[in-house]
Amino acid sequence: MIPSNISSVAFYILQPFFGFIVGALFYWVFRKVRARLQARRGPPWYQTFADVTKLLFKESITPLIADKTIFFLAPMLAFTGYLVVLLQLPVGNVYPPFAGDLIVILIFLTLPGVAVILGGSGSGSPYGAIGSSRETALLVASEIPFIISALVTGIQVKSMNILRIVDAQNQFGPMAFHYPLATAAFFMCMLLKLGRKPFDIPDAEVEIIAGPYTEYSGSLLGIFEISNALRWFVVPALAVNLFFAGGLANLLVFLILCLIVVVVISFLDAQNSRYRIDQAFTFLLTWATLLAVIDLVRASTGWLQW
């Protein structure tokens, strides 16, 4: 399905809005499910929109000792990272005009993490600095299983083009069926990418207040909130594209699959306590990496395939 010029322009204009709205709703779903699992009622559906609007129209204070440039650029950088990934993701049967490459997507997905690290250390607060150092450690630890498990799909179809990966699954069934271990590893890293428990130590409230975000306020925090909404669409959408695509490839089914992923993540978040930084590091580098590597070996050698 190769879109014409007009539809490709329409795609580039609409996709960010679509991503933001759906992401905001997914984030609300997460909060709602978590609240219900905690025997509470939870926020109303428009919560994320209210939060973002409020923050954008609120005063933004820059700390005196913060590095101004980095402090301002970090939220933009995070936003850009997710935006670039978003514009390369196929959404159900709507394919992007420029075929997304898995490597590019994975690299751009680290950009928000880097942005948070920069923003945290540039803000001049000790909490920001500690949050940044924790974020760095987790980023390093998570990239390995994350990239390996994502690459499993690419290696299987012998192409790094995400459209090929989706198409291949349309023919042979979802990757999650063929590579459950890589899927599990991907899920663990996804919890981290979304900043959820047990890997939410970079902004653990009781330890370091809000970690890298501690000094952000008003509109700059609002931009972080927008990128947070985007990531709640991008990350589950990537997971669905890589591991659960196939069969009925239309928009609705795609969104439902994303929703299921979001609910599973909410459930895992609600059922876990927080790993200490060393525990998270060890967990990611042993178990998650091990699972990913097993499937990588299976994908590249063709052993034990079904």
């Binding site: 509470r40 926020p43 109303p44 409020k54 609120k58 204070i61 409230e205 009781v206 809000a210 501690t214």
Partner: protein, 139 residues
Amino acid sequence: MPRGIVSKLRQKSPWVMHVPCGGCNGCDIEVVAALTPLYDLERFGALQKGSPRHADILAVTGPVTAQVKERLKRVYALVPNPKIVMAIGSCAISGEVFADGYAFAGPLDQIIPVDIYVPGCPPRPEAIIHGVAQALTRL
């Protein structure tokens, strides 16, 4: 965006920072209890935030003691506008039983401007929710 909609949405997303100012702990635990399942402030979009930078509402409890007075002023200065200060509990309003003491530096509204007063020693979580709902009409 029209101001009306912004202020409506502001009322739907009050982020609360709890600032204990030397109280007896009673109000503090009732503020926390207001977040827990039976009362659930998150229904109204309220979240408890640890950083004053993120806060819209400062929930101040306790008589302001001499030691925390300056810190309270600084926390207040850190909160971006528009902001609301809630004086929770009789201590924050008047100093209550500690008002005659030498360590009492309050009451709160002589140190920072207060928008709403919630009497009670401590107020029930319902009363705190009522206070938050009242305070939001000022945003």
